[in-house]
């Protein structure tokens, strides 16, 4: 009963290497909730589902399976704060359990490094743990800094809940779980027409043609503005966050249009709502601010924190 739930913390690439504030914020939030995040020593790229999934399904599943074997050996499920990592790890875990041919091919590759996929671990996203393990009641109890009066637009992204019939997470046409978690912070949910549309970065499109990827993003921004605007955009994915955050700088360069949205990962929003200071996890280190030499709009976010770099 009193045993704390424990998860291997799968970091991936973008969180630890570009948006480490998410990594730290998640540590603060999970610790507050009494859930252990364990270092996943030896983990690699998930691998990037767009490029690897499109290039070679067996190698994609092989690298994902290598990561899964670390969790299998340690005996704990794993959790990630990235929709892309979730897509690779969850899908590979699922497909390897169902498809014997794929599993045999993957295990032939893994044998080369003395590993074997056994199919004994579970892959979760922060959303699953926050909603299903901590629970809404507990989340609400921890909110000491409610974002009352802050207008919040959501970008749930694609790969946590889709494909819906396989993932069985939420109704992908009318999702409510991510929204409930974000609303626990007291911020006001702003509905906009293109909320469920992809950010444009996935499927290796950002790498193939950044301009086309940014056209998706721009459409989302315009859709938010058409709904009356928002003080913050919240997402459960660092790759979407990169696209929405750095994307504003890129859109300005390529299309000559300036948007000024603060963008947060749900772990960051919760850390702040739980009373942590933005400096504790480095909210101001988001790449948008570094590139533009700006800071989060502290006042609009009702954070009233001292403006430090």
């Amino acid at each position: 009963m009193s045993k704390r739930p424990a998860y291997y913390h799968f970091l991936g690439c973008i969180i630890p290497h570009r948006y480490p504030s998410i990594e730290k914020a998640a540590k603060l939030v999970f610790n507050d909730l009494g859930i252990d995040l364990l270092d996943m020593v030896g983990a690699s790229c998930c691998p990037a589902p767009g490029v690897f999934g499109s290039f070679d399904r067996v190698m994609w599943a092989t690298i994902a399976a290598r990561n899964l074997t670390i969790a299998e050996q340690g005996g704990h499920p794993l959790t990630t704060g990235c929709n892309g990592c979730f897509a690779s790890l969850w899908d590979a875990n699922h497909e390897l359990k169902e498809d014997e041919e794929l599993r045999a091919a993957v295990n032939r590759n893994l044998a080369e490094i003395g590993r074997e996929f056994k199919g004994t671990t579970e892959v979760t996203h922060y959303i699953d743990v926050l909603y299903g393990v901590a629970g809404m009641q507990k989340l609400k109890e921890h909110v000491t800094h409610p974002f009352t009066g802050v207008r919040m637009a959501l970008h749930p992204g694609c790969h946590w809940m889709r494909p819906a019939l396989v993932k069985k997470k939420d109704n992908s046409e009318r999702p409510h779980i991510f929204r409930e978690i974000c609303e626990a912070t007291g911020a006001k949910y702003v509905h906009y027409k293109d909320e469920l549309m992809c950010c444009g970065a996935g499927g290796a499109v950002r790498t193939a043609d950044v301009k086309i990827a940014l056209e998706f993003t721009k459409q989302k921004f315009d859709s938010i503005l058409a709904a009356g605007g928002a003080d913050v955009i919240v997402t459960p994915c660092p790759f979407c966050l990169l696209q929405l955050d750095m994307g504003q700088v890129e859109i300005q360069k390529i299309f000559g249009v300036e948007y000024k949205f603060d963008v947060m990962h749900v772990a960051e929003l919760l850390a702040l709502a739980f009373g942590h200071q933005p400096e504790e996890f480095g909210l101001a280190s988001h790449l948008q601010y570094a590139q533009r030499k700006t800071e989060p709009n502290w006042q609009r976010l009702k954070l009233r924190a001292k403006a430090t770099a």
Partner: protein
Amino acid sequence: MTVAEEKPPVDVDTVDLDFIQMIKKTGGPNIQSCYQCGTCSGSCPAGARTNYLVRGIIRKALLGLKKEVISAPELWYCTTCYMCTDRCPQDVKPTDVIKAIRNVAVEEGYMLKPHQDVAKKVLEAGHAVPLDKDTWSALRQKSGLEPLPPNGSSNPKVAEEIRKMAKKSGFDKLIGYSDTPPPAEKKEK
């Protein structure tokens, strides 16, 4: 726009069934269930702004127009958002079909250099987006974290293991990765 008479009619009796089998085997088992309703393309955010037409690609694949399908640059505009997959009334799973077709395309040498480079980075560093500059470590310290995360960035064995598996499966050759760093570098500059 291509005019219809520029192209010869497709003889449905000589369809490239091998191509369909390849797609089915590589992750798109339901491709033959497609009845061309267009729900996928109507839901597709990539199709809304580019000449990418998922329904058309599936139809062409079913007609066995392999070369045309795998060489089309727009094949790479799908963001894998799965909107089409969630709405397809025939459970074709168009997203998986597209990924399977991309697998065939890559096998036949149709791949973009930027994608190749991402794949190479995973073999080199264990990560598609590596911790390749001091500024990234500084960013981590600003967030109150140790400069190196407990992943492939602090442990060269990680990438080593991936390279071993890539060699075993032939993936290194597929993406033109070579163990000795200079040749891989030389190509880029």
